[in-house]
């Protein structure tokens, strides 16, 4: 006897939506509204006081956005989710729900540049300090924990260097310390990895990337695994003690496995308001319908690109966890069995100047500050996404000036290669000039 609950691809198409409650509409309606009619005063009071479910104002929740939240939640195997205007706002909301002034986070050093800046420069303004640890330094995460540490945060596959964080081992460290492990799983999507199955407690995504795949809309999401016991210690009083904002409600007592998301919505979304537009939610939902199909092609194209780049005379090095000799290959095979994603970092011979020439001369690959589009994307991180870092921070984050970040798209592989050959040819020229 096996449960007949829906599986991944079916959930990608159906989770979170009931046509019978939406005029039979097979496609998800876009609820382009700011607010929702109350039945009467009692109904309004009950909604505002979290006595019953429903929508009040689209800053807090919206029926189209709700479908997206449930769908991602179902795919991740989580209990609850909260969609936001962008991936960065999902991270900010998560940290602001978790921490108070005077608290501390332990964070992987290899992250998207914007995330590094959030932890390095912005969160200290709110009294939240961070210790950065290199993603492969598992023991370093343990050593960095302080009495006021409220969580460990990292990207499973670090941006842009593709170094892996040993999520199962870091999870044990977090559990021993009684703090949650938060994973930014944007690079993986739930198709490649479901972090809750490897010990994560909270997951964040930039849905703008592979989940959407179409490059049309910004969105982020926080997903809760329902695994973390907020009442196990006294580290999280805002979760466990009576909350004045809702007449003495204890989120952990009342909502248990969904407490964090309930708090993030009730307080964070209420007060900060980084809500997702329903049109954007709808666009992202369209992408999710084909997530499995796209991720398979992303991964197969990426494997071919790794082989092509590894054997190319103009390439100094290639970093992708599938590549032979990659230090994290064994770990990747364990926790990313379907593939290690479509992000490749490589070093171009000739350094920064050659990198610039390469990027200026590819025509099919798009030079822009995004990843996970259906189209192939390239960027030179040291001069773009991570340009706000100083030299020391760049080095600590594993960035070199010759690094090119490649997000492999769904085009025909041969067309990508032909385009790259043009780029590599052009990259050789400035080096020759420079040598004169």
């Amino acid at each position: 006897m096996d449960p007949k609950t829906y599986k991944f691809d079916t959930l990608s198409l159906h989770a979170g939506y009931q046509p019978s409650k939406n005029a039979g509409s097979r496609q998800i309606p876009i609820y382009q509204t700011t607010s929702y009619m109350f039945d009467d005063v009692d109904h309004a009071a009950a909604l505002f006081n979290l006595e019953r479910g429903g929508h009040i104002y689209s800053r807090m929740s919206n029926p189209t956005v709700q479908v997206l939240e449930e769908r991602v939640c179902a795919l991740e195997g989580g209990t609850a989710a909260l969609a936001t205007a962008s991936g960065m706002s999902a991270i900010f909301l998560t940290i602001m729900t978790l921490c108070n002034a005077g608290d501390h986070m332990v964070v992987s050093s290899q992250l998207y540049g914007g995330t590094v800046n959030l932890f390095r420069l912005t969160l200290p303004k709110f009294g939240i300090k961070t210790t950065f640890v290199k993603p492969r330094d598992t023991e370093g995460f343990k050593k960095a924990i302080q009495p006021n540490t409220k969580g460990i945060f990292g990207e499973l596959v670090g941006n842009p260097g593709n170094e892996l964080m040993n999520m199962p081992e870091v999870s044990k460290i977090a559990k021993e310390a009684g703090i949650p492990l938060i994973i930014d799983s944007t690079y993986q999507t739930p198709y490649l990895c479901r972090p809750f199955e490897h010990g994560a407690d909270l997951v964040v995504h930039s849905l703008t990337k592979w989940m959407s795949g179409n490059g049309s809309s910004m969105a982020g999401i926080l997903v809760e695994g329902g695994t973390f016991d907020w009442m196990q210690n006294d580290k999280f009083p805002s979760m466990t003690e009576p909350y004045e904002g809702y007449h003495g409600l204890s989120f952990a007592e009342e909502f248990g496995p969904t407490a964090f998301t309930m708090m993030a919505r009730a307080e964070g979304m209420r007060d900060m308001g980084p809500c997702l537009a329903p049109q954007n939610a709808w666009n992202i939902l369209h992408g999710i319908e084909t997530l499995s199909l796209r991720m398979e092609k992303h991964c197969s194209n990426a494997l071919k690109m790794v082989e092509y780049l590894s054997n190319h005379e103009s390439v100094a090095w290639v970093s992708h966890a599938s590549a032979p000799g990659h230090p994290d290959k064994e770990l990747a095979e364990k926790i990313l069995p379907k593939g290690t994603g479509s992000m490749i970092a490589f070093g171009i011979k000739g350094g920064k100047e050659a990198g610039a020439a390469f990027i200026n001369n590819v025509k099919l690959a798009s030079h822009l500050a995004n990843v996970g589009d259906a189209r192939t994307l390239v960027i030179h991180p040291a001069s773009a996404t991570h340009s706000q870092m100083d030299e020391a921070t760049l080095k600590f984050a594993g960035l070199s000036h010759d690094m090119i970040r490649l997000s492999v798209g769904l085009e025909d592989f041969e067309d990508i290669v032909n385009d790259f050959e043009d780029g590599f040819r052009a990259a050789k020229k400035p080096r020759l000039v420079a040598n004169k």
Binding site: P3, A15, R52, G53, G54, V67, G77, T79, G248, P257
Partner: protein, 270 residues
């Protein structure tokens, strides 16, 4: 709030309001392997409308200490002690699934303490599928997956939780997995399977009673729920369409509306 019942630390959600023994009391009793958390979309409403509510965690469940009680009879008796432990003389009882058997048993053992009875997704007997029972007693997580499958109607399988962002199947699953499966779900399933007093007690019940049933309930089928209601003198019956066993979450609003009407009429605030 935490309080002692038979010397054991017991937890009950009070719906976000301080407990007041002078207000009319409603006690909510959860189903197999679950906890107070399933009642959040009913308890808070009554707690903020002049009632005292206790959504109890049975011993060994949720945030309550102790070991799970082994029989429905013991659980029914224990609910009687809960009412006494908080300093009240009487309460209205609301049970879901196994909680229906427990609340009926409580009425049988402590008739003087109970004012009204609400049965959600109930039946006079809940015989367990032998394979499901074995899996639960072995702490096999598959038992939880099967339970979530059976417990939710076709609509619930897609989602559509009344609280934005929550996903039915995984919330229920994590509530059960909060404890060792064999110690809660396994013990509860065995207690349900062993319990045979239901029909006899149902026929003797003589208090305002309502049955709320899901039209697509696969745990306690609609026909069994109706049969139970037929056994109870003067029982009201409400059937919620397009809904499975977890009507208190799947169709929380409809469930609350039915419960409100019944409680406000039969156990009004003075």
């Amino acid at each position: 709030m935490k309080f002692k019942v038979r010397g054991i630390d017991t937890f009950a959600s009070t719906g976000g309001r301080p407990f007041d023994k002078n207000k009319p009391l409603i006690v909510f009793v959860h189903g197999s392997g679950l906890s107070h958390m399933v009642w959040v979309l009913q308890t808070r409403y009554f707690a903020f409308r002049g009632y005292s509510v206790l959504a109890v965690d049975l011993p060994g469940h949720g945030l309550s200490s102790g070991e799970s009680l082994k029989t429905i009879e013991e659980m029914g008796d224990w609910i009687g002690d809960v009412i006494e432990a908080v300093g009240c003389k009487q309460a209205s009882l609301v049970g879901h699934s196994q909680g229906c058997l427990v609340t009926m048993e409580c009425v049988a053992q402590h008739p003087e303490k109970i004012k009204t009875l609400t049965l959600m997704g109930g039946a006079s007997a809940i015989p367990m599928n032998p394979e499901l029972l074995s899996l639960a007693e072995e702490s096999n997580p598959k038992a939880v997956d099967l339970m979530m499958d059976f417990a939710h109607g076709p609509a619930g399988h897609f989602g559509g939780h009344p609280v934005p962002g929550l996903y039915h199947l995984n919330v229920g699953s994590m509530i059960v997995q909060n404890k060792e499966i064999k110690d809660t779900l396994g013990v509860d399933f065995r207690a349900c399977d062993n319990y045979k007093n239901g029909p006899e007690i149902a026929k003797k019940l003589d208090l305002p009673t309502i049955s709320i049933l899901g039209a697509q309930d696969r745990m306690c089928r609609l026909k069994d729920g109706k049969k139970l209601a037929d056994m109870i003198k003067g029982s009201e019956v409400h059937i919620i369409e397009n809904c499975g066993h977890m009507m208190l979450l799947e169709e929380a609003d409809q469930t609350l509306e039915i419960l409100k009407k019944f409680i406000l009429e039969k156990d009004p605030i003075n």
